[in-house]
């Protein structure tokens, strides 16, 4: 087991197990993971800032046990920002906030390959910054079906003057985000709105879309999981790695690109790998920036 002491942005950190292969069938070690997150740091940090982190740790790699933690590991360095939350009006819990590069590296050193965050920030946990449409394909559907649904959602929402943004989940689905960024918004608002949208989609495209969670409704359809709009739920953070066979990333796509890829018909092209992710982000910037900046109001509520 190797240990290496480094200094990152003025903080001292001890990195361990750098040669450990965490994606064994692909060949991607802890060092590679740290390298990825270092490269993507300036793009991912604004999306992690002040959000209660749920760590999903794979200390033995993606093929072995993982454990997920909402509590900030007690052995955290003092400079890691934390916050106290009371998810149940009873239990208090300390959570980590990945607010700087050193903390991101510390979290990745713990093999938290996947970073999941809530839609609201920790100081206003009942105020979602955006509304999300989590598109999840059934067993007999795939990401291309999700792309069709996502493009229709974009148009439907734009008819109500709402701008939306899309990213890959890094697995089989897509996530469509509608930025709101207003302190008056509640989860009640986003849940009601997204449910109404999901239901009208289901009504008009019953063979493609379902708004119901139960498995028997899903098989060849895309499930629009509107219930993710809740203070207790988390979403994979944009630019986070996924613990799949290959180090694929939850990556934002421009709508135009999604249209082209959808026409091309190759689902593999929608899986963005780590190396591609950093290069593209450097070239085109953070396509998801507007999700945390743009102010919009949900109409008709």
């Amino acid at each position: 087991m190797s240990r290496k002491a480094v200094e990152i942005a003025g903080r001292r950190l001890s990195l361990s197990n750098l040669e450990k292969d965490l994606y064994p069938s692909y060949g991607f070690t802890k060092a590679h993971i740290l390298e990825y997150y270092l490269g993507i740091a300036k793009f991912i940090l604004p999306h992690l800032k002040d959000r209660a982190l749920t760590l999903k740790r794979y200390p033995e790699g993606v093929e072995k046990d993982f454990f997920f933690e909402k509590r900030c590991p007690s052995h955290h360095p003092e400079w890691v920002n934390t916050a106290e939350v009371s998810p149940d009006e009873g239990e208090r819990m300390t959570v980590c906030l990945v607010n700087d590069l050193a903390t991101l590296m510390w979290v990745e050193n713990l093999a938290s390959l996947e970073l999941h965050v809530p839609l609201a920030r920790v100081d206003s946990p009942e105020t979602p910054d955006s509304m999300v449409f989590d598109l999840d394909p059934g067993d007999r559907a795939n990401i291309l079906s999700c792309a069709r649904v996502a493009l229709m959602l974009r148009d439907l929402l734009s008819g109500l003057r709402l701008t939306s943004y899309v990213k890959t989940s890094g697995k089989k689905g897509l996530h469509v985000y509608v930025p709101l960024n207003r302190k008056e918004t509640t989860f009640e608002n986003t849940k009601t709105f997204s449910k109404a949208v999901a239901e009208i989609m289901q009504k008009n495209y019953p063979n493609l879309v379902t708004a119901k969670m139960a498995k028997e409704y899903r098989k060849a359809k895309v499930f629009i999981n509107w219930a993710q709009n809740d203070s207790s739920k988390t979403m994979i953070c944009v630019y986070s790695l996924r613990a799949r066979e290959k180090p694929v990333v939850s990556f934002p796509l421009a709508w135009k690109e999604l249209e082209n890829l959808s026409k091309q018909g190759d689902p593999e092209k929608l899986q963005i790998k780590h190396s591609e992710a950093v290069g593209r982000a450097e070239k085109q910037g953070d396509l998801f920036r507007e999700v945390i900046v743009k102010k919009q109001k949900l109409p008709y509520l």
Binding site: R11, R12, F68, S74, H75, E78, W79
Partner: protein, 256 residues
Amino acid sequence: MAGKAIWKGYINFGDVNLPVKLHTAIKEDRIQFHLLHKRDHLKLRQQMICAFEKKPVPTEAQVKGFEVEEGKYIIVDPDEIEQTAPEDSRMIEVREFVKTEQIDPLFLERVYYLEPDVPLKGYDALVGALKEMEVAGICTWAMRKRYYLGALQTGGKILRLTTLRYADEVISLKSLELPDIPLSEKELKIGSDLINRLTAPFQPQKFENEHQKKLQSLIEKKARGEKIAVLRPRRLKPTAPDKLLQALEASLKKVA
């Protein structure tokens, strides 16, 4: 009077096998409040409510689960958990001895007094040895279905057993990186002088729980129907970094 005896065990190391009884050492005396409904002043009860149905759930319909992934749980049977509980072994095994001063107060949890049980031989000798060598025994034992780590020390004429926190339960200060702000020798000197001037011997009997007394008197006042003046909490203005030396000098003058 010490608290009641809650457990019996044997202190064990080398050829020492000393029977003892554990007594609680701390008694907290607090004003207890009940939580009431504002509307009708009825006493409220804590209930477990089902998040889905929004209705109270009786104990028979409650199960324990461990969250492995968001919204997904492994159900555990109380009997299975029970099986992991250790048997009371009655043996307080001393694993090693350390210099008492090495034990950081962050690790100390709960103190028990140890009363010698029959047969009495050896207790005073152990007290003497620990005291003269200024050491504590680090021990492990199983009590009331839990495994404990503790420190065996002396307190006056008797032995005490203090439970210790496990290493990963104490949040580390080691990798501390608080901003390193340069301070002038003058500031440090005046600060040190000030502290020395304000130093007094530790006399805990000087301190009374005034808040408790004031709270009691508030309750009595309200009971008599008197009006209560609600005072705003005072917030001190923080000392600006460039005014620090000034504040220190003024403080020193004040105590001189």
